[in-house]
Symmetry: C2
Subunit: 93 residues, 2 copies
Amino acid sequence: MPIEDVRTFVLYDIVEDKTRARIADVCLDFGLVRVQYSAFAGQLNRNKREELFLRLRDTLGDEVGKLLVQPVCEKDVTQMLLHENDEPPEEDL
Amino acid sequence: MPIEDVRTFVLYDIVEDKTRARIADVCLDFGLVRVQYSAFAGQLNRNKREELFLRLRDTLGDEVGKLLVQPVCEKDVTQMLLHENDEPPEEDL
C-alpha cells in the first residue's frame, strides 16, 4: 500500500435508522470494514479521507448526528488492544 | 502533559445495558470523556491504557461484546475531522 495511506476510523452517532444505514453504505463504498456497530475502519490516503468526510456530511444533511473521522498511523495501530467475546450466530455484523 | 501521554480512544459494542453502563463508568473512572454513544477518549500513558484495558475486560467478563482500545498520537489527532448537528436539548450525553 502507498506509504501515505493510514488507517482511518469512522465513528458516528446517528439518530435516524435510515440515515445511519446510508452512512454505513458510504463507508463500505470507500472500502472500509465495520469494526463496531457504528464504527468502520480502513486504509485511506488524505484525499480519500477528506472526500469520505464530505460524502458523510452530505449524507447526514441536516439530521441530528455526529461524525468523527480519525486517521491512525501504523505505529499506533500496532498498539491497538482488542477483546471480543463471541456473538450469537444469528447476528450478522 | 507527559510526552508519553497520547489520546486513547475506547470503542465498545456491548449487548447488555447494565454491562454497557458499567463499561462507561470504567472509562469515566480513568478520566476519559464520552465522544460518541459507545466511545470515549482521553489522555493516557501506556501503563494506564493497559490497566484500563484489563479493567474493561474484567467488567465485560463472559458477556457478549467487543472492546477496542486505540492510542492515537497528537499528530493524528490534529487531522481529526469532526462534524456535529445539534442534538435535541433533552438528550444528556
